[in-house]
Symmetry: C2
Subunit: 152 residues, 2 copies
């Protein structure tokens, strides 16, 4: 344990509603879209540019769960909670497809802080995370319930 709060990470006591966290960027290319799709979401519009052209997406689109997975990578870097980013669940929406060439970044805002009544060492924090591309278009909106601990 270090004395420096920032190095140690943030506890429930350190958070406030409205607080914002910005992530680094992730550059997405067709190779990443296809590799994820092969493993987890093998549908033509995620696998093949030609097949995707005639689909609902009218061109290669990332699986929404790849957008979410990259978002998680960016959240692990940008939400500096002392015991990690531990989710109980949440709500997710994809207003538009994620495309090859998109540069993703995540802007998170603390929406609600609920200390646990039964377990005084922790609380649930509701965090809204927008995944944006280089045109500031919203690719994904995640509202997650995260478990955050109090300072011991």
């Amino acid at each position: 344990m270090k004395d420096n709060g920032a190095a140690e990470g943030l506890y429930l006591d350190d958070l406030q509603v409205g607080q914002e966290f910005l992530s680094a960027e992730h550059f997405l290319d067709a190779g990443q879209i296809i590799a994820y799709a092969r493993q987890f979401d093998p549908q033509p519009f995620h696998l093949d540019e030609d097949a995707a052209r005639d689909s609902f997406f009218q061109g290669l689109a990332a699986s929404g769960w790849l957008t979410m997975s990259i978002t998680m990578k960016l959240l692990v870097q940008s939400l500096p909670f002392a015991k990690g980013v531990i989710g109980a669940g949440g709500n997710i929406a994809w207003p538009r497809p994620t495309r090859p060439g998109d540069i993703l970044r995540v802007k998170s805002t603390i929406r609600e802080i609920r200390p646990s009544r039964s377990r005084p060492d922790r609380g649930m924090v509701q965090v809204n995370s927008l995944t944006l591309n280089q045109q500031d278009e919203v690719l994904q909106e995640l509202t997650a319930n995260l478990l955050v601990f109090r300072k011991a």
Copy 2:
């Protein structure tokens, strides 16, 4: 287009509330958990058995988004919609951690069918998907809003 409805896949007209779909099984091991974590969720409790022992999870646990990614793989196989499994979003919860050695399968139930008023060729279908392990414990509950097309 084939005459056989099953080979062609299911359209909005073919679905009814309460209809169930069962997936195949997926065997999860520590290697898969660590590989996903390295790429998308590099936190100690997803990366390393020893580090995980002293964490909230008290042992290696899969990223919830890996549980979701495997669920998607099983949904692509088990929800035979004619134009694919296309999600607009949904709600997700993880009542307990997914562990190495778990055998995952997904049980999906159609909850709601809402034909679009503005676009008569399609509708939104709410599907509840439980991801279970070999002890029938619920690892994940997903309620997804899926875009399903009508027969042309």
